[in-house]
Symmetry: C2
Subunit: 530 residues, 2 copies
């Protein structure tokens, strides 16, 4: 094995076998799929929609993942095909799930032996190949990642010819035409986006794909063996353990992106809104200054599936994690679900667990105490309300305390009037269908609010500029002062033109730019919009 | 980020941050230490002894790991500092634990920010640095791994000068003399071996090391916070969860290597031999042709810690894993431990779990059924033996069915007579201390057996040679036949010299090398030694 060096010092090398090694952290295939969904969700891509599909290409079962996010430049694609180069940053309140720069590699290589990435930005289209079969075929000693870029300005790289040949020889696509047709597929979803195809999917011992594509044509399910026992085990476990549709419906605490599986939109669940007997509690870990909100309630669908739904930066890490009081012989907290977002804990490599630190253990201990308090409280209240009732609370039928529905246009969740019959909801629902004024907020209103908010930030900037110039005039003298006065007059004139939309009485032809009239008007408008 | 290429195709790159990413699969620090122990245990290193120590170097807490195995050549050290280059192979019945080529990187970088490796083979001594602090300090964009080799023949590499300078500047050791003193430390353990020092150890939020070195001066324990609750939680959990000594005592199903922690030998536990009411069962998964042995029994130390001890290729993967019947409300199988070696399952990235496949789920389901059978059987037998007994079986005091002790010389486990009082065992015990002839097998006997075995294999080889030459004589003619006859005579003479040790009546001066006397004598000896 030849040693590559940098500044005279050996560089650590990457064996193709490491692709498999690195993927073994995903013990469960949906955890691998979640990595690819996270990549589209994260603020650097900000896709509005995501599609997961099963497709057959040249006789092979494939999984395809597509988003209409921002796409990747060649440099970003190269980073995605390398290890540890995450430079995801939070954008406003949208915090990235990805931090490790490893999701695509560990996820795609867990699902299949080979993957190809097609991506389109406003200026370029790129293709990258990460393929264990290819590396084996060429007996590679290092991980080679053929990359190909088509720039909109036509300035394509001459050295890409070798990569193109490798892709055409070793991927599912043997002509440039076939590659372009995949790039065009992105166009159907939006001007930019990314499309990933994974093939040579992992199979079970009997040679079938680990996913069952036939059980439900609108779902991707983990294959169960045909045995009676296997069916029994499945019936006992939460649906999100084996149905991708069910898992995606709870993957994000506050959904920002629409996920579609095999053509059908996933109806996201706001889990904390689907519970009965909801109570909010909070918890301040000793090592934090802020209190963390915890929502408790009873599962309204099944009393068998309960425990804590633990999120981290909006993403589900552990589902139905039973706390110690739920595991003991006396079995407290049956049917009780807790929802918490633990941004203060560290998720592990596969984002299916938290690092087992003292903080984690303390958190679990406290969650158990609080869940037990909630359980006792609910039982006490029930006893008081109806002293003769003998049916345990977990065995009674329950309906969610509140009814919530997601708008198909703005993706926001809206509360419906109490007692609303969900079966009356249409297939597609929009904000303006909410007739009860108490709960009505239309998407249009939403847009006006957004405009107000950007106007307010603009006005604030202008106000600062006004104050700065006034300050310069007060302190300055001679030509400097004159210059500031000139600028101030100009700014007031621009401002007047802006403000006339809000103050129709303002006569633009008679504005006195030397007085503070305009400044006062600005203050008034500011007050109104904030 | 510059793109490195091979055969014109971009090479996937490794960011220094990936060292941390890769280490996050270890959610528990002992799982990281176990990786370093496995490396010494595996057949390519075959250390007889392993030492884990806490040491302070230049005011910093360090962990040191040393073995007296075969050491690494420069090429192997470079592979260890790279990713995915495992070429471990089974040697006879000694199957390697490591398969992924990732243990050292993920393990050492979980424990601390920086690590240095000193290794000695018969021909060379090498030093390698894997340091996150160093890579940060030089603002590396790739993982650079300074490596330095001193060959016994004095032919050192000129290009190592840059690596030497990096190591002296960025490691704990600032002079060549200090480096040599660490290499010399290996000499105390054997002519060859490896010594790893990890520093900038991970700390808790309060800034203390995550390990507590003060609680027990012969142990390395996971630090517990001082709170009452924290102490309670610890008292409830198995000792192997927080004491490295307890964990190492059960790390291998059949120990092959002596582990020493802070100067004291770890008394390995043969877990399946320490149980009460032992019963052996077996299990043949549908996808295997061989039956797998399962040992059930009651924990004789604590009824609180129970479940399955799941090994893979001799290495502990999951401890006290409760099966479904032990988790249900009726609480069956309390206090029952099962021991199984599941070589047919795939361990995950961190070797603390198995891949969640249909095979795994089936195995767990079957283990639950078998454990429940065992539990019912034991309770039935007890009821029959003593119908009036009302104390649940899990609450009675129990002693192990058999008493076993490990020989401090040959490391083999020996059974002691039933009813033997363990408190009478001396601190160090050797095979020849076993006076009961029924159980007595001395190490000496062991050695004779080993000699017999190698003699038998030698004799078999010689017999094949004899037969080959006889065949050539039968088929051959002319000079070829003469040549074969000459060789046969020579071989018979050598054989006679060997056999005289076993057949003193043989007169070397009158051996007839043309007859088959010697061949017959060989057959007799062969019969005796096999």
């Amino acid at each position: 094995m030849a040693t590559r060096r940098q500044r005279g010092i050996p560089l650590s090398s990457l064996n193709p076998k490491f692709l498999h090694t690195n993927s073994t952290s995903h013990t469960w295939p949906f955890s691998a799929i979640a990595e690819l969904i996270d990549n589209a969700y994260d603020p650097d891509v900000r896709a509005k929609q995501f599609w997961v599909d099963w497709t057959r290409i040249k006789g092979l079962d494939c999984l395809s993942f597509m988003d209409n996010g921002e796409g990747m430049t060649r440099a970003r694609l190269y980073k995605m095909l390398s290890f540890g180069y995450s430079d995801k940053k939070a954008v406003k309140d949208h915090v990235p799930v990805g931090i490790y720069g490893n999701g695509f590699k560990s996820g795609s290589m867990r699902l299949g032996k080979d993957a190809i990435v097609f991506t389109k930005t406003r200026d370029s289209m790129s293709i990258g190949l990460l393929s264990q079969s290819y590396l084996q075929a060429v007996k590679a000693q290092q991980i080679m990642v053929p990359i190909l870029t088509f720039r909109r300005d036509g300035q394509n790289l001459a050295e890409d010819a070798v990569s193109l040949e490798a892709i055409l020889t070793h991927s599912l696509f043997s002509t440039e035409k076939e590659l372009f047709s995949e790039l065009r597929a992105i166009g159907a979803a939006g001007p930019t986006g990314t499309r990933i195809i994974v093939w040579k999917l992992r199979t079970t011992l009997s040679g079938e794909t680990e996913f069952d594509f036939a059980a439900d044509k609108y779902d991707i399910q983990i294959r169960a063996s045909g045995s009676e026992r296997s069916r029994e085990r499945r019936a006992m476990s939460p649906e999100s353990d084996w149905s991708l549709r069910a898992y995606c419906s709870i993957l994000y605490l506050k959904p920002r992106m629409q996920i579609n599986i095999r053509g059908e939109r996933v109806k996201t669940q706001l889990i904390s809104k689907s519970l009965a007997h909801i109570a909010n509690d909070s918890y301040r870990p000793a090592f934090l200054t802020k209190r963390i909100r915890i929502t408790f309630g009873f599962n309204t669908k099944s009393k068998e599936h309960y425990g804590i739904m633990m999120y981290h930066k909006n993403r589900l890490i552990k589902a139905y994690e039973r706390v110690s009081c739920q595991r003991k012989a006396e079995r407290k907290g049956i049917g009780v679900i807790g929802v918490i977002e633990c941004n203060f804990l560290q998720p592990t490599h596969n984002k299916q667990d938290f690092d087992d630190t003292e903080q984690y253990r303390k958190t679990m201990h406290n969650l158990s105490t609080k869940l037990e308090d909630y359980w006792n409280e609910i039982r006490y209240r029930r006893k008081k309300d109806d002293p003769r009732c003998t049916i345990p609370i977990e065995d009674t039928a329950k309906a969610p305390d509140q009814v919530w529905v997601q708008c198909d246009s703005c993706l926001k969740w809206r509360r419906l009037p109490d007692g609303f019959d969900c079966s009356r909801l249409p297939e597609k629902w929009f904000c303006n269908m909410n007739h009860d004024p108490q709960f009505s907020r239309s998407c249009m209103l939403e847009k006006v609010e957004q405009e107000k908010s950007s106007l307010s930030s603009l006005c604030n900037h202008l106000k600062q500029d006004l104050e700065k110039l006034s300050g310069q005039i007060d302190r300055g003298a001679g030509p400097e002062r004159e210059e500031a006065e000139r600028k101030l007059s100009k700014l007031r004139l621009s401002l007047a033109r802006l403000l006339v939309c809000f103050v129709p009485a303002l006569n633009l032809e008679h504005v006195d730019v030397s007085s503070e009239v305009i400044d006062e008007l600005l203050d008034q408008v500011l007050e109104e919009v904030t």
